[in-house]
């Protein structure tokens, strides 16, 4: 089948802006986008820059934007893309600086991974030797940890390129680094104080509370790491550890308090739950609140609970465990 590959070319040193170039290629059955790109480079245009190594979804170096979504080129079938989109466009990962053509600069990506200290703290070793236990510190006790799938990450950067929060706030630690951080919080070898240090770092601005839960990272990850789910686990662990004062944590605890009280969310009360008595920030939402009131968009703060509210409270009492912790922290 003869197809056109539209490839975004850009050399920041010589080109004023990126340009799309079409390449015609006869593609055989079962070929991947990476194989097609390598052939284009070998047969048509040796100046095309791309990054790859393993060709089998292991090394993580060939992530790029194929038909508008982040994918590993070596794992993406040309035929399936044509069936899905009727065309093939190839571009570098979004929201990262382009070095040349399909090669992006991953410096910020690696910097963020390093920032979450993706290694066991020295205290993990020390505490073990002090107690004199025979357990070798670098061995994981088999039954006492759950990494979900975060250790399957191949550091391809697809999730970061797709992340909508990173798109508008480049300082955000981002899905890959936060998923990596969660792997170390889930590791039983580190003592509680080391975990608390990690959490204190992660709950800072540009950390776990910057994620909007857009699910892009979950959708695009080629290794089913589900970074957003890891971020949600980090948020839960932070609240459980008593780090419950940030706006994001209050959003969760305040939201749950309102549902427990009346069964449905009351938008009139929600800002108070999240913002509390921070006057400056209350003044920031007040004008919008007044305009909403004018347009009949503010529900009564005195709205009665839903029918059967007793059952809602039973559900919270039976399955909830956070309330005690968060109440303790607020007082």
């Amino acid at each position: 089948m003869r197809l056109t590959f539209t490839i975004t070319r850009f050399n920041p040193e010589t080109d004023p802006r990126p340009r799309d170039e079409p390449y015609r290629l006869d593609v055989e059955r079962g070929q991947t986008v990476l194989e097609a790109l390598i052939r284009i480079k070998q047969e048509q245009d040796g100046s095309l820059a791309l990054r790859y190594s393993c060709r089998s979804a292991i090394c993580g170096s060939c992530a790029m934007d194929i038909n508008g979504a982040e994918k590993l080129a070596c794992r993406t079938s040309v035929r399936k893309e044509i069936e899905r989109h009727g065309r093939i466009t190839v571009a570098p990962l979004r929201n990262l600086p382009v070095i040349k053509d399909l090669v992006v600069d991953m410096t910020s990506f690696w910097g963020k991974v390093r920032a979450v200290t993706p290694w066991l703290s020295a205290s993990a070793l020390a505490s073990r030797t002090e107690t004199g236990r025979t357990l070798r510190p670098m061995l994981l006790p088999r039954d006492r940890y759950q990494f979900h799938n975060v250790d399957a990450c191949i550091m391809c950067g697809a999730c970061v390129a797709a992340c909508t929060s990173h798109e508008v706030s480049r300082r955000f630690l981002g899905p890959a680094a936060l998923a990596k951080a969660e792997r170390f919080l889930a590791d039983p070898r580190e003592p509680a104080d080391a975990k608390r240090t990690r959490l204190r770092f992660l709950e800072q601005p540009d950390g776990i509370w910057d994620c909007t839960r857009c699910n892009f990272c979950v959708e695009v990850c080629p290794k089913d790491v589900q970074p957003m789910e890891a971020i949600i686990r980090l948020r839960r662990v932070a609240i459980e550890a008593g780090l419950a004062r940030s706006g994001g944590a209050r959003h969760i605890t305040g939201f749950m308090a309102l549902i427990r009280r009346s069964g449905r969310l009351n938008e009139a009360l929600m800002p108070l739950q999240v913002i509390g008595c921070n006057l400056r920030r209350l003044l920031r939402v007040a004008p919008l609140g007044l305009r909403m009131l004018w347009h009949g968009k503010v529900p009564s703060p005195l709205a009665p609970p839903i029918p059967g509210i007793a059952q809602i409270r039973t559900i919270f009492n039976s399955f909830g465990h956070l309330k005690r912790i968060t109440r303790a922290d607020h007082t």
Partner: protein, 310 residues
């Protein structure tokens, strides 16, 4: 035979976006949909309860599903976020009998248990797949043919795709189909599948409005006259926060945002006042000026009323 569903209104349509509830009720009859409202249903958790207490969120939704099951009806949602959360919860409850048992043991103390027999469907999906675009087209009295309309899907009706299974998240088409059936022209732009920022709007306003602003600016630069969304939380972000979103991207947006049933209602010739458009913070008269004058011409013309009775 009408299509009958258990209507799950969700919190927003009963709270800050009452126009969504009003416009839904105004259009469904004409599309052959009947509903019984789940008046005792709770919040779906909006993903937020699930962050704090995953099992509480699942149990809240199992309780709602049990109420629908009692009526023998599938659930109709009118909120993209509710659809995402409830669809995923339903899938887990059906696939994990141990989990369902554990929840049912608590539910049975005060109400019905959930047997895992119902489905959860968004109004958008029902219109496209069950009502059908042909039927929708027949109901269009006021074609929106001079409008370029930007679809804005919102996250939870698209991703993760394996929990939803309707649109292709890379290339969704259902809103475009509905826009075309209303004779409008859908605007193609990248932001249509992106995030409105609403989940962090109270605590991280700068991030949220930058997202909303970027997407609206792109839609406007691509020629959109207005935007339509199947999610009331997106609507709040895009409508209520539009001034701030515009400031964040240095643009004067003035982009009216319609809820899906408002778009359908205007095209079906339902008076704008019955669709609650006056509740929006961003005025919609650039749209309603046109649709209302067309609607008046229609009703003035003799024979329309009798035609409608056939």
């Amino acid at each position: 035979m009408p299509l009958t569903y258990a209507l799950y209104p969700g919190c927003a349509a009963k709270g800050a976006t009452p126009e969504l509830y009003q416009s839904t009720m105004a259009i469904i009859g004409r599309l052959g949909i009947e509903v019984q409202e789940l008046t005792a249903s709770s919040c779906c958790g909006a993903g937020v309860v699930g962050e704090g207490e995953p099992d509480v969120a699942l149990a809240l939704n199992a309780r709602t599903f049990a109420q629908a099951e009692q009526l023998g009806l599938d659930v109709m949602t009118i909120c993209g976020t509710c659809q995402g959360v409830m669809g995923a919860a339903n899938k887990r409850l059906k696939q994990e009998p141990g989990l369902l048992d554990r929840i049912n043991r608590v539910l049975e103390r005060e109400g019905p248990i959930y047997r895992g027999t119902i489905q959860v469907k968004h109004l958008l999906w029902i219109v496209v797949r069950e009502v059908g675009l042909h039927r929708l087209g027949q109901e269009v009295r006021v074609p929106l043919n001079e409008f370029r309309i930007a679809p804005f899907y919102g996250c939870y009706i698209l991703r993760p795709s394996w929990d939803l299974g309707f649109d292709d998240p890379e290339n969704p088409t259902s809103l475009e189909k509905v826009i075309r059936a209303a004779k409008g022209e859908p605007v193609a732009y990248v932001g249509r599948t992106k995030c409105c920022g609403f989940p962090v709007i109270l605590e991280q306003e700068a991030i949220a409005v930058a997202m909303a602003g970027t997407n609206m600016k792109e839609a406007k630069d691509s020629g959109a006259d207005f935007m339509v969304t199947p999610c009331p939380l997106c609507h709040m972000s895009l409508d209520i926060y539009q001034d701030r979103a515009g400031q964040a991207v240095n643009a004067n947006l003035s982009l009216p945002i319609l809820h899906l049933p408002q778009l359908l209602g205007l095209a079906m010739g339902i008076p704008a006042k019955d669709l609650g458009v006056s509740r929006h913070l961003v005025p919609v008269h650039t749209i309603t000026r046109v649709t209302e004058s067309r609607r008046m011409q229609l009703t003035d013309r003799k024979g329309v009323a009798s035609h409608e009775n056939h």
